[in-house]
Every structure is written in structure tokens, then in C-alpha cells.
Symmetry: C2
């Protein structure tokens, strides 16, 4: 049928194979798979591609006379994936990608190519997998002023934190379990450091606020320092710990952070368990809403790619961010909103150390709402203590933490997490 858009698909991993299978089943009536490219032409992927043109070099898809739209599922932020996407856009062929690392590392030139020539570059699969967060932020809330986005954007971290919570595991053991189940990579750094969530947040912020993606604007803290004791303390405050990416209006700009936060169990983000992702959106006049679902995995990511294909097939493709990065004028703010904080430290088991610690907090303008001190089962000379502060400005907190860290004779292992506010 010549009225169908014809798809050239590069990359036949789990996602690519699922997309191919669904297209061959007619799941997107107005689209047709015509060509694929992958490293190994012969590998069994559970889908019969014998009737589909196979090209060894993905770049051949660009010049391929039957290909109208290129789907890039190769991955990696440079080299082949980037070459393919740039070449396709230059040739005026719409592109669909799941490649968040590429989109954030090369946001400006890709937006120039896509916006400049009005060639669609669709990326629903790049953020939160199968949950249509891009469509929701860009289209579903068009006409709103978004005031805050808070997302659980990394399934690996959420799995680890959920398992620490449910089974009392250490970070290391929960990570190991996640690796065994395929929820974490052999090298988990990109996930547990918060960097992956940061890339996704940068993409969302470009759409929601028009802030040019720049990882330097995002305060990123991973989950490596979270201990089983923190999870247990959080439970005493009827809370859990979640890695939350936040992009919120603050002062004259938008403040971005990815960090572990204390979330009350009654709040919706606390109910997001295991490998699920979620995005909570506050907007005017809407109010607040939340989406949750599978943020990764072959089926979920394929779902997002198929939705992009359907949009482009319907003539509803959009250029990257709808706006060239060079035209994005909204500024990133360095001012973290004031917050309550959870401060955990190990306090020397000797007279006067609690008095000294609380004095340091007070001197720096940090006022305490609750304290929990536990007796240790071992005969450690340091005992874990947790303070929950009243609303505190971030500079006051930072000064207090720095002062505490200098008092190594009375305390160590200092960690502070914001308390999530509705």
C-alpha cells in the first residue's frame, strides 16, 4: 500500500525485535516495515524478517529509496547512532529514537537539524519507557503552566530502594539482586549515580519549561550512600526513600535536581515500587496529576516507539522539543527550594556530642523538628542519629553539614536528604 509510511529500523535488540514484530502484525495500520539493519543478519530474534530488506550498514537506510522514516534503536550517544540520525534529518526523513544519552549530549545540533527543517524527531521512548510522559507534558498539558515535575525516572534505582525496603537488604545486596534479574547493568554507574535520571529530566525540562538541556545545570546525587539503616529510619517516619528527579520553578528560573528524597508512605510516589517509573506533574490550571508504569524493558519501550510511528504516520510528527535549543531562553536556577531535611549521622557515644551537634545545627539556622537516636546492637563507639528539620534554606543546610563534618571527634557519616513535599 503506497499510502502507508515505510519504516527503516536500525537495531534489532529486544526493543527493535518487538517493534518489528508488531509492525509485521499490522499493529500500526498506516505503517509498514520495509528495511532493517543489525549487526547479525542471521540471528534468531523470534520474528520472521525474511521478507524485509536487510542492510548491513544502518546509514544505508537513509538513502534507501523505500524508507520514509528511520527508527534508531542502536543506542550510544555518538558514532553510528548519531551519524544515522543526523543523516536522516538532513535527508528530510523523520526519525524516531529511544536514545536519551544522544539527545542530551547533542541537543543543540539535533534540534537545529530537526526544528530548522521541520523534520520530526520523536523520542517518547527516551523518557520513562512505555509511559507517555513526553506526549502528556507536551500535548496533554498544552495550555498549562507547569510549576513542578517530580519523577521516578530510573527503574534500577527504584528497584534497589524498593528491595532494600521490602527485604531489609543492603545497597550492595539489592544491587546484586537487580543485576541477577536484569534490572541493573554489570556496570551500574550510569543508573545508581543518578546520571541516567538526570538525562531524562533534562529532556522533560526542555519540553515543559524551555530550558536548554545541560547536565551541568542539574544537581545530581545517586543512591550509593543510602544504607539499610536509612531505610529503617525512614520507616520510623512512616516514609520511604526514592530517587526523585525534580524540575521546579524557583525564583526566576527552574531548579533541577536528581537525588534520594524521603517520601511519606501516604504520597503517591511512595507507592511506586520496584522497577516502575512515575511522573508527578503540578500545573496551572490543571492541578496535580501522576502517571506510572513500566519505565524500561522491551515491551514498554517498543510501545513508545510504536506510538511515535503512529503519530508520524498520522501526520502528527513534531520536531525535537518543538523549538531550537538555541532559542530556549528559560534559565536554570541554582536556588534549591527550601525544604525539610532528613539528616543522618553517626554520633560519638560520649557526653556532650548530641549537645554539640544540635548546637552546630542551631548556629547555622537549622531548626530541628524530630530526633531519633537508636541504641546500637554492637558496641560501636558511634551511634546512629537522625534529625528531621523544619523548613530550611539549602545554603543553611550546607553550612551546617560542612560544620558537622569538621567535628569528626563527635560525628561522621553525615548524610542529608530532602523531605518530599506535596
Amino acid at each position: 500500500m503506497s499510502d502507508k509510511i515505510r519504516i527503516g529500523l536500525a537495531g534489532l535488540g529486544t526493543v527493535g525485535a518487538t517493534v518489528a514484530a508488531r509492525l509485521l502484525q499490522g499493529a500500526v495500520p498506516r505503517a509498514k516495515l520495509v528495511a532493517v539493519s543489525a549487526r547479525d543478519a542471521k540471528k534468531d530474534r523470534g520474528v520472521d524478517l525474511s521478507a524485509i530488506d536487510f542492510v548491513a550498514d544502518p546509514l544505508e537506510l537513509v538513502a534507501h529509496k523505500d524508507v520514509d522514516v528511520v527508527v534508531e534503536l542502536i543506542g550510544g550517544e555518538n558514532s553510528t547512532a548519531l551519524d544515522l540520525v543526523e543523516a536522516a534529518l538532513k535527508a528530510g526523513k523523520p526519525v524516531i529514537t529511544a536514545n536519551k544519552a544522544m539527545l542530551t549530549a547533542h541537543a543543540a545540533p539535533l534540534s537545529d537539524l530537526s526544528v530548522g527543517a521541520g523534520v520530526p524527531l520523536a523520542f517518547e521512548a527516551a523518557v520513562a519507557g512505555g509511559i507517555p510522559v513526553i506526549k502528556t507534558v507536551r500535548e496533554g498539558l498544552a495550555g498549562n503552566d507547569i510549576t513542578r515535575l517530580c519523577g521516578i525516572l530510573n527503574g534500577t534505582c527504584n528497584y534497589i530502594l524498593s528491595r532494600m525496603e521490602a527485604a531489609g537488604l543492603s545497597f550492595a545486596d539489592a544491587l546484586k539482586e537487580a543485576q541477577e534479574l536484569g534490572f541493573a547493568e554489570a556496570d551500574p554507574t550510569l543508573d545508581v549515580s543518578g546520571a541516567d535520571a538526570g538525562q531524562k529530566l533534562a529532556i522533560l525540562s526542555a519540553l515543559a519549561y524551555g530550558v536548554a538541556p545541560d547536565m551541568d545545570n542539574i544537581s545530581v546525587t545517586g543512591i550509593e550512600a543510602i544504607t539499610a539503616a536509612d531505610i529503617a529510619f525512614a520507616d520510623e517516619f512512616d516514609s520511604v526513600i526514592r530517587l526523585v528527579g525534580t524540575a521546579a520553578r524557583s525564583g526566576n528560573g527552574v531548579y533541577h535536581s536528581v537525588e534520594p528524597v524521603l517520601v511519606k508512605k501516604s504520597q503517591a510516589l511512595a507507592q511506586v515500587l520496584n522497577e516502575l517509573n512515575a511522573l508527578s506533574i503540578a500545573a496551572e490550571p490543571l492541578g496535580a496529576m501522576m502517571l506510572q508504569g513500566p519505565g524500561a524493558g522491551g515491551g514498554a519501550t517498543a510501545s513508545a516507539v510504536l506510538a511515535d510511528i503512529a503519530d508520524i504516520a498520522a501526520g502528527f510528527g513534531r520536531p525535537l522539543f518543538d523549538m531550537a535549543v538555541s532559542d530556549m531562553t528559560e534559565s536554570a536556577s541554582q536556588n534549591a527550594p527550601a525544604s525539610e531535611f532528613y539528616i543522618r549521622l553517626a554520633l560519638a557515644d560520649q557526653p556532650g556530642s548530641m549537645a554539640k551537634a544540635t548546637q552546630i545545627l542551631a548556629e547555622n539556622g537549622v531548626s530541628i523538628e524530630e530526633v531519633v537516636q537508636r541504641s546500637s546492637e554492637s558496641d560501636d563507639s558511634y551511634l546512629p542519629v537522625v534529625f528531621i528539620t523544619h523548613q530550611t534554606e539549602k545554603p543553611s543546610l550546607d553550612a551546617a553539614l560542612a560544620a558537622l563534618e569538621q567535628q569528626s571527634e563527635i560525628c561522621n557519616a553525615v548524610l542529608a536528604l530532602p523531605v518530599f513535599a506535596d
Copy 2:
């Protein structure tokens, strides 16, 4: 600017006034408000409409030379609203409406007008208020096979059930509170009977499965029979009661129901509180996802209308259901999926009545998983008893209930609710 689409807005209640105010603020850059119609031209609505053309008769918006798109926020399923929408579609002018009653009562002729001539008829605001459920089902999950939709689609019912749960109120007292707070109408029948949720479910099912909207296909039970005792019993099973609209593949068609169901507190739908709405979607290859947010209210509904305006302004308008109702071939199924059930009854406080009741259940193939019997504080001669059944076919349940109801000397006040399954 002549490249903006020009909006004619009929109906200036809370939603209409918010839409007008946002358009005047430039919230949708490609759209411009040019004409409004309302009963009272002079009423203060908190928005300065002095520069906007006012027409007394909404139908004048159709012939108005400056109006490109008509927004119908009059409400009511017949008369003016329907006349306006039909006239606009006949004139080739795209229409945006929040009017679920009109869409379900006149689905076939409206789809003929819209689909036949390819004139957009957008209705995001008709279901779940500000939550973009229409966009998610139609676009965000394009390329998926949807297997089940389960929604909390009526904020009034959810508010009443939540308050019965949180404050131990009776249905009547919770309804009264909802009315005082503006969450329920003076005549709440349409809401508490489940009819409103049924209309929304019919619209979702047309989109998700291609089932022609027909209220006769939907098994609708309201929440009027739910007592404070049921809420307390549910709590003993670590569950709550929610009014859930379900459209699920079953047998060779799609089964539709709106009914109160028992939902485990650990399930996401149980966390949806007060006036919020939610939609849980199971689809292949996606998996499962959920959206929640404000299902009613001026701001939320205006948000959905503004999103529809932005889509049409971007050239992305779609005809009603994308398919004429006369072309919808998917059939509605009368076969409820098998389920566990909560059966509550009042059992005569006399020897043998429990034996008789359980015998009736067993004779009808209903097997019991749990029983809770409470001693009554009063000296009633009937005591409340609850059974949770194993997986049971609906015809078996219905036969058992009918048999129980004939045994009025041993039991009365029989009520059965399905137990929600993930």
C-alpha cells in the same frame, strides 16, 4: 495574527471562564479567542471579555465569519449543545466539547458528521477531566492491544467512598458532605448510580476497542447499597471499596461493567482518594500503567479543553473516535470474567443458619475462601456475615445470590462485590 486559529466559545461557566482567561493570556500561542456566547452577557466572571465579540445565540458562532473552531461548554445531551455541535460540524468547523452525555447519546450521528467529512471533534474533557486519558488511549498506546481498562471515573462516588472509609460515615452522611463541598449535585443520581461513569466507559471503549457506545451493553451498579459496615469489613480484608468502570476483553468481545469492587490497599487504585479519578490500562506489549489526577473542576476540565485547542491549532485534530460508529465491529460481551467475590449478608442469629447459607453457596458451585462474622452490639436477630469466595463464574454467583434471597428466614440484605484482580 491571521495564522492563529480563532476560537468561538459557547458557555461561560467555571470551565468556560477559565478557558477564556487562559486563551486571553496567550496560553495557547497558536489560538485566539474571538467570540463568546453565554446566557448573561454582563455577569462578572473574573475575566475581561470586553474586547471579545459576544453573541447571544450560540448557534451564531457557527456562521460567525471570524470563528474557525467552536468550543461547546453548554452541557446537556440535547437541544442547544447538540444543535450547535451538529451545525458546526456540518459547516466544516472543528468542535471541542466536554459533553460526555451528548457524545454517548448521539455517538452514531455525531461520528457520521465528524468522521464522514473529516472534521475534528475533540473530547478530552469528557472523560476524567484534566487527565489526558483520551490522548493516552488513542495516541500514547497506539500500536498496543489493550486488554483491560479499569477506571475510577466518577469523583463524586470516589469522594463518598473515601470519606466513608476515612471518617466512618454512612453513605447518606458522606453524600451530604460531598454536596456541601460541591463534589455532588443536589440530585446526585447520575453520579451515585454509576450512570456517569458508564458514559465515560462507553467513550473509552469505543476508542480502545472499537465497541459502539451503547449504555445497554454496560452492567451498571451504583454505590447506594454500600454501608459503613461494608467499608469496615473491607478494611478487615486490608481492602477498600471503589466504584470501578471496567472494559476488558472477555471471550469473543469486550465486557463492560461499572460497579463497586473490593480493592486491596496495596493496589494502586486503592490509593486514589477523594475526588480524584484514575485509569489503569493493561496492554500488549506495554504491560500495565496508570494515570491519576483531577477528574472534574473548572481548572482540570479547562486544561483538557486547552489541550484539544492546542492540538487542533497544530493541525492535529482528529474526528470523533477516528471511526464512524456504524463501522465499529467489535462486539460487547455479556460474559463477566470469573472473579473472587465479597458476599455480605445479614444472617439470622439462630442455630443452622450459617450451615444453610454455606450449603446454598456450595450447591451453586461457590466455594468459600474466608468468612468473617461479627457479633452485633445491638440485640439484632440478624448478624452481619461476609464471605470471600474463591474464583467464581458470574452465573454461579448469581444463582447462589438468588437462592440466598429466597431464604428470608435465615438471611437478608445480600450484597456481592467482585474482588479486584491485578
